[in-house]
Symmetry: C2
Subunit: 446 residues, 2 copies
C-alpha cells in the first residue's frame, strides 16, 4: 500500500449512522485512502456512554467521553450526534482548531447555518453536509457546484421518507392515516413520537438547506411555511385519486417575481412545506415507499430529478463518507475552503404572497343558486375558477323530509395568491350556503 | 457590486454550446461573480471563422483565430470545439500555462483522458467535465465526490438522447427503425450522419468516462464493448413489449467477481453499450423521448437515479458554467487541483467473460422433438433456461404441402456467461433444427 499522509478523523456520536460510518471507515480503509490520497485514521468516537451496545462491532478503546480532547487533535471531525447542543459548540471548536467538519445535522444547519459557515470562512475550513438534505441522494454538490452557473427556478422535493411511506400506503391501499401510521411505527418507518416527520418539521429543515443552496441566500428556518399531513384523510386521498392526482408532502423552494419584494431585481423566493396534489403523470408521483426525490427546474438545464433512498443508517453513511473523502482531498490539496454562496440574499416571501393553484372542496346545500353564489364570492376574491365538479353527497343526513340535500363542490382554481385564496375561503365559510369547507389543497407540478 | 478579483476566461469554439456559454457568461455576469467570488471576464473566443453567423449575439471583437495567444493569457480555458485535435493540444497548452480547464469533449476524454489528467496533476491544475457524460444531468460530481466513500456496484445509463428518442417512438407508436430515424433527422434529434449515435460510439465514450469515475480505474475506450441499435426492428420491439420489457440502449458499467481476473481482490469491471431488455417497471423504462438518466447501484447508498435532458446547447451550457464557477472558486481558494482517482486500477473484462441474462428468439421447424434438441444444446452449453414460449409463426412460408410449419421459440435464460451463450447460439444455428436465430438480447435491470 502506498505510504500516504495520515489524517486524524474524529467521530462524534455512534448511533445508527455513526456506527455504520465507523465500521465502513475501518472496513474500506485501504480503498478510501487510495481515493482520498490520504490515510483516514479513525482516532476516536465521542459518546455519552462508551459501554452502550452498538450496531457495529467496534473496539472499546476507540470510545471516549472526552469530546473536547478528541476534537482539538483532529484533521476532520464528523458530527453525527444530532440536535443543537452540544453539536453546535463541538463544531465551532473543531473549526477553530483547524479541522474540516462533516455533519448530517439538518436541525443545526437550518437554525445555526450562517454562524457555522462564518466560523469556517474565518479559518478557511470547509463544512460538508451531503447527508443533511436528502439522505444518500447526492443533491448538495449538484446544487452547490453543478448548477452554480445556472438559475434554479423551483425545487420540489419529497424529502421525508416517513410521510411518503404513509401517504403512499394510504394511496395504494385506501387505508386511513391512523392505521398506516401505527403500522409504520411497528415496522420502524416512523418514530414512537412521529411529530417531527408528520408535522413537516424534518422536511422544513431540509427545505431551508436546499433553498439556501439553490438561491444563494441564507434562509432561516422560521421563514419556511410548514404544514404537516395529519389532516389528510381517506376522503382527501379518494378525491385526489378521482381527480388524477396523488398527495405528496412537498418541500417547495421557488424563485418568484414579486412587485412588493424588497430586492433590487424584484425577485424573491418562497420556501414552504405542505401536502400538495401532484399530477399522476409527474415524475414525483412515482416515488413510492420511503424513497426520496428532488425535482429541480433550472433556467438552462431544464428539468432534473434526483432519486434514491431517504434516511437509513447505511445509506446516510454513504453520504457522510463521500464528504469525508472530499474533506481529506481538500486537506491534501491545500488552499482555503470554498465558503457558502449567499450573496444573492433574496427576500423570503411570507406564505400569503405566494401564488399557486388550489383545489377547494366544499359541502353546500343542494339548492338552485348556490353555485352562482360560490362563483361570485370567488370572483370577488380574485380567485379564478378552472374546473368545478358537483356531486351529491350520498351519505348526507337529511333529517327533515323535503329539506335540501347536501352537495359537494370540488373547485379547481387557476393560479391565485395565497392571501386572496385564504380570505376567499373564509368568506365562503361565512356565506351561509357553504356547510363545511372540506379541504383546501395546493396543486404543484404543472 | 463587490470589487472582486478578476479572472480571465477564454472560450475555444462557438457552436451550439459555446454560443450559449458565451451569452450566459455575459448575461449573468454579476450573479456568476457573486457565486464564484470572482469576476469572470470573457476575454476572447477562438474560432476558425470569426465572421461566421452565431446562435447568440456576441460582439465581433471577442472573436479571434489566434487560440494560442488567447490560451496563454487565461486563468480558465473552456474547450467546446469537440474532436481530438486541436482540442488536445490546446488543453495541454492551457494546463501547462497554469489555467484550469473546462471541457465537454467526451471523445477526447475517453481516448486521451489519462494524458490530460496527468498533465493537470503535474501543474496542480484541475480539469472539469460535467458536460461530457450526460449533458445537463449532474453525474460527475456525484460519482467523483458524493459516492467517493461508497462502492459503486453497477451503473446503467441511458446516455444518448437520439437513440432513446428513436427507441421510445418505435415502442410507443409501433413504427419501424428507418421511418423513425428519418423523422428524427427532420426534427433535429438525429444528425445527417447518425452513425455516432445509432452505432453506440457516443454512448461508449460516455460509458468509459462514467466507469473510470465510478471504479477509480482509467478505462480506455477500446475496452468498452459496443453494439448499436440498427438491428432493432419492429418485430423485436413487439416481442419485447409482449414479454413485459422495453428496449433501451444502455451503457452498463459493472463491478464483477471473476476468478481469472488479474487483480489482488479477484474483482474486475465490465463496460459495455448495447440495446437491452429492461423490465417495464424499472425506473429506466419510464425515461422517454430524448431524455437521459443514469441509474446507480451502490453498496451503501442503494439505488439512485439521476434524470434530465441529455444534449442540447443551453442544457449543456448549464453544466459547463457550473464547472466554470467551480474552477473560479478553486482559483480563489488556492491549493492544487484534486486529481482523478484511478488507483483501484481494476482489470476490464472482455465481453466474453461478462454474465447476464438473455432472451433468445429462434425460428424452428414445428416438429416433435425440436424443443428437446434445443434444450439439450443449451444445457450442454451451460446456459440454463428460465422460460420458454412457443408460438406458431403465422406468416411462415410453407411452400410444400405437408411440410412442417415454422414455430418461434422465445427462450429466457438464467444468468449465463456471454462466451458460453455465444458459442451455444452458434451451435443452435448449426443444429439443423433452427431455421434462423431471430435475435439475442441481453436483459438488464432485474
Amino acid at each position: 500500500m502506498t505510504d500516504y499522509r495520515r489524517l486524524r478523523v474524529a467521530l462524534l456520536g455512534a448511533g445508527a449512522v455513526g456506527s455504520q460510518v465507523a465500521a465502513l471507515l475501518r472496513k474500506h480503509a485501504d480503498e478510501l485512502a487510495d481515493r482520498a490520497g490520504a490515510a483516514l485514521d479513525l482516532v476516536g468516537i465521542a459518546v455519552r456512554n462508551p459501554d452502550a451496545p452498538r450496531d457495529a462491532d467496534l473496539p472499546r478503546e476507540l470510545f471516549t467521553t472526552d469530546s473536547e480532547q478528541l476534537i482539538v487533535g483532529a484533521d476532520i471531525v464528523i458530527e453525527l450526534m444530532g440536535g443543537i447542543e452540544p453539536a453546535r459548540t463541538d463544531i465551532l471548536l473543531a473549526l477553530s482548531s483547524g479541522a474540516d467538519v462533516v455533519t448530517a445535522n439538518k436541525a443545526l444547519l437550518a437554525t445555526h447555518g450562517p454562524e457555522i459557515f462564518d466560523a469556517a470562512d474565518q479559518v478557511g475550513a470547509s463544512v460538508y453536509y451531503e447527508a443533511a438534505a436528502a439522505g444518500a441522494i447526492p443533491i448538495i454538490r449538484p446544487l452547490r457546484d453543478s448548477l452554480a452557473g445556472d438559475r434554479v427556478q423551483r425545487i420540489m422535493g419529497i424529502v421525508n421518507g416517513t410521510t411518503n411511506y404513509i401517504l403512499d400506503r394510504m394511496d395504494s391501499e385506501g387505508s386511513g392515516f391512523d392505521e398506516v401510521l401505527a403500522d409504520a411505527q411497528k415496522l420502524g418507518y416512523a418514530e414512537a413520537d412521529p411529530t417531527a416527520d408528520i408535522e413537516g418539521y424534518d422536511a422544513a429543515q431540509k427545505a431551508a438547506i436546499l433553498a439556501s443552496l439553490a438561491f444563494h441566500t441564507a434562509v432561516p428556518l422560521d421563514a419556511v411555511h410548514r404544514e404537516g399531513i395529519t389532516r389528510i384523510d381517506k376522503q382527501a386521498m379518494d378525491a385526489a385519486h378521482h381527480a388524477g392526482y396523488v398527495i405528496k408532502l412537498l418541500a417547495v423552494c421557488e424563485r418568484l417575481a414579486d412587485a412588493e419584494a424588497d430586492s433590487p431585481t424584484g425577485e424573491a423566493i418562497s420556501v414552504r412545506v405542505y401536502p400538495a396534489l401532484v399530477p399522476r403523470e409527474h415524475p414525483l408521483a412515482s416515488v413510492h415507499g420511503a424513497n426520496n426525490a428532488v425535482f429541480v427546474q433550472a433556467e438552462a438545464a431544464g428539468n432534473l430529478m434526483f432519486y434514491g433512498a431517504g434516511a437509513g443508517g447505511v445509506q446516510t453513511a454513504s453520504a457522510v463518507l463521500g464528504d469525508v473523502v472530499s474533506a481529506a482531498r481538500r486537506h491534501i490539496a491545500g488552499g482555503v475552503g470554498v465558503g457558502e454562496s449567499t450573496r444573492a440574499n433574496l427576500p423570503v416571501l411570507p406564505i400569503g404572497r405566494v401564488t399557486t393553484r388550489y383545489q377547494i372542496t366544499l359541502e353546500v346545500s343542494d339548492e338552485p343558486g348556490v353555485l352562482a353564489t360560490v362563483a361570485g364570492i370567488l370572483s370577488e376574491g380574485r380567485v379564478s375558477i378552472a374546473t368545478v365538479e358537483q356531486t351529491i353527497e350520498p351519505t348526507a343526513p337529511t333529517e327533515v323530509e323535503d329539506a335540501p340535500g347536501v352537495a359537494r363542490l370540488v373547485i379547481g382554481t387557476h393560479t391565485a395568491r395565497e392571501q386572496d385564496l385564504s380570505d376567499t375561503v373564509d368568506r365562503l365559510a361565512a356565506s351561509g350556503v357553504v356547510g363545511r369547507v372540506v379541504s383546501v389543497l395546493r396543486v404543484e407540478g404543472n
